[in-house]
């Protein structure tokens, strides 16, 4: 049978083919990826879109959790100081409600209590990055100012709004308690009972002072109870963080399955393609120039 006497085209295409296999294997090994453009595996490339979206989202969630945790910790720290200040105020109130005090001592206690009052205002005006933590959603101005004409001794400039943050898919976490709920609650009114104690010591009876001190105690209990809100939030964020870090690992391994190169296979492919390429070149060099003419002397 007569065959195509000019093999150069076949040989050339075989050389190109092996060279392209070498390139593919080399690219997979150097990038570590099996899918380097969508056409390498359209379906995997499309799935990678969702994967990298979720991965970016998880990164952002983790970053948010850091910010949020420090915000909750600051708020919790402020409440802890409020509780300490209230302990002092209760001690002073107990001293003030005993009948054996001189006017001078009483004045001394009043001065101390006024100091505690402005300290509490300062704590209630705690801010993180220029945003006030206890003003509800009115975060741009200090929520509390001292106001001697008000029955509570202060004016609240905030509102009763609360914010909810999504620290992970499908999880909603309330991140703030407004000052009106924390410090002026009917279950325990920090500023109101302190002002009542001041009034009692300045112009009332020891019985009035005793009643006001008891109200301070219930305010103390109330604020201590509210700290659970922040403690819970911090705990929840911490466990969410662990979960998200796990999720990140899962996503990375999923990415590896979708588009990652099997390096062992790529290395084997490379060796095989290299051998085939060299063989094709060697065969071409031996066969192509040979014809009958070489043997006719």
């Amino acid at each position: 049978m007569r065959v195509n006497p000019d093999m150069s085209a076949d040989v050339l295409s075989a050389i190109w083919e092996t060279q392209s296999q070498e390139n593919t294997a080399l690219q997979q090994m150097s990038t570590g990826k099996r899918v380097n453009s969508p056409s390498d595996d359209p379906l995997a490339a499309a799935q990678m879109v969702a994967n990298s979206d979720q991965s970016n989202r998880t990164d952002q969630y983790l970053q948010n959790i850091d910010t949020l945790t420090s915000q909750l910790q600051t708020a919790d720290g402020a409440l802890s100081s409020v509780v300490q200040a209230l302990t002092q105020a209760i001690t002073l109130g107990v001293q003030g409600s005993t009948g054996t005090l001189s006017d001078g001592n009483r004045q001394q206690i009043v001065q101390n209590l006024k100091g505690i009052q402005s300290q509490l205002v300062q704590l209630a005006n705690t801010s993180v990055g220029g945003s006030y933590l206890f003003g509800g959603t009115a975060t741009t101005a200090p929520p509390y100012t001292l106001d001697s004409t008000s029955p509570s001794g202060v004016t609240y400039n905030g509102n009763s709004g609360t914010n909810t943050v999504q620290p992970a898919d499908g999880l909603n976490l309330q991140t703030n308690l407004p000052g009106s709920q924390l410090f002026q609650n009917s279950g325990g009114d920090v500023f109101g009972s302190l002002q009542q104690l001041l009034t009692a010591l300045q112009s009332g009876t020891t019985t009035d002072a005793g009643t006001a001190t008891n109200q301070l105690r219930s305010a103390f209990d109330f604020v201590t109870g509210q700290r659970i809100f922040y403690g819970n939030g911090i705990n929840q964020l911490s466990s969410t963080q662990t979960y998200l870090q796990q999720e990140k690992l899962t996503l990375t391994s999923q990415e590896n399955n979708l588009v990652g190169a099997d390096l062992t296979k790529a290395a084997t492919d490379l060796t095989r393609a290299q051998t085939a390429h060299e063989a094709a070149l060697a065969a071409a060099a031996r066969i192509l120039p040979t014809s009958l003419l070489d043997y006719l002397k």
């Binding site: 007569r2 065959v3 195509n4 006497p5 000019d6 085209a9 076949d10 295409s13 453009s37 969508p38 056409s39 390498d40 595996d41 359209p42 379906l43 490339a45 499309a46 799935q47 990678m48 879109v49 969702a50 979206d53 945003s131 006030y132 003003g135 509800g136 959603t137 009115a138 975060t139 741009t140 509102n159 709004g161 914010n163 909810t164 943050v165 999504q166 014809s291 009958l292 003419l293 006719l296």
Partner: protein
């Protein structure tokens, strides 16, 4: 169907020209100035034209739809909120009047971060509208798919076009190679065959020459016989 336009007649060739024909894209013209773009049915030029006029516009439409629908949905949620100063939210993305060139004109309209309408009630610290904005990601756009799905689909389409073209090219290349082989098997010049023929003819010639030489020598002998020395 108009008559085909000759580009090569005998030893004369007619150069094609490129130019616009009232539109913005380049068309192919014959040497006589006739627009023959639609008549080009094969070859590299037809492939390039098909990519330009059919494949890319289809993908572009998908991308433009995504850009315009996403911008519109996001703006709708954004304008329902309030910025840090308590003013109603403005458009977050440049409003896209039509889907033409939507992806090219897609861009953020606001430059001041305090104009982000995160607040749902006008107070500066509220973040109620953020949840609404985030929800756009998973909501169906008018196309019936979420933005992420629309984009994944586009990636899938582009990948498929590439992969199919690659497979077609491989298959066509193989059949071309086989056909070339078959043709060359019939019409190709085999040096071995021609050398063999050459040798055969050479031998025949040599043999004929030998016959002539022999006859010549015989004649010569014959002639010599008649001459007395």
């Amino acid at each position: 169907m108009s008559a085909s336009v000759p580009t090569i007649v005998a030893s004369q060739s007619f150069a094609l020209q490129a130019g616009t024909n009232g539109g913005t894209v380049q068309e192919v013209f014959s040497a006589q100035g006739q627009d023959i773009t639609s008549q080009i049915q094969g070859g590299q030029l037809a492939g390039t034209l098909q990519i330009r006029d059919q494949v890319i516009p289809q993908l572009l439409t998908g991308l433009n739809d995504l850009a315009s629908q996403f911008a519109t949905s996001f703006n709708a949620k954004h304008t329902a909120g309030f910025d840090r100063s308590g003013n109603p939210g403005q458009n977050f993305f440049n409003p896209l009047a039509s889907t033409t060139n939507a992806a090219a004109n897609f861009g953020v309209a606001i430059t001041d971060p305090s104009l982000i309408a995160a607040s749902s009630d006008g107070s500066a610290g509220s973040n109620g509208n953020i949840a609404q904005l985030i929800a756009v990601r998973d909501q169906q756009l008018p196309s019936g798919a979420s933005p992420m799905d629309m984009y994944s689909n586009l990636v899938l389409q582009v990948g498929n076009f590439g992969a199919n073209a690659q497979a077609d090219s491989n298959a066509t290349g193989l059949s071309l190679q086989q056909l070339t082989d078959q043709r060359n098997a019939v019409s190709g010049v085999s040096l071995d065959e021609e050398s063999t023929n050459l040798i055969r003819y050479q031998r025949a010639y040599e043999a004929s020459a030998r016959v002539v030489t022999t006859v010549d020598s015989m004649l010569q002998t014959l002639m010599t016989m008649g001459v007395t020395t």
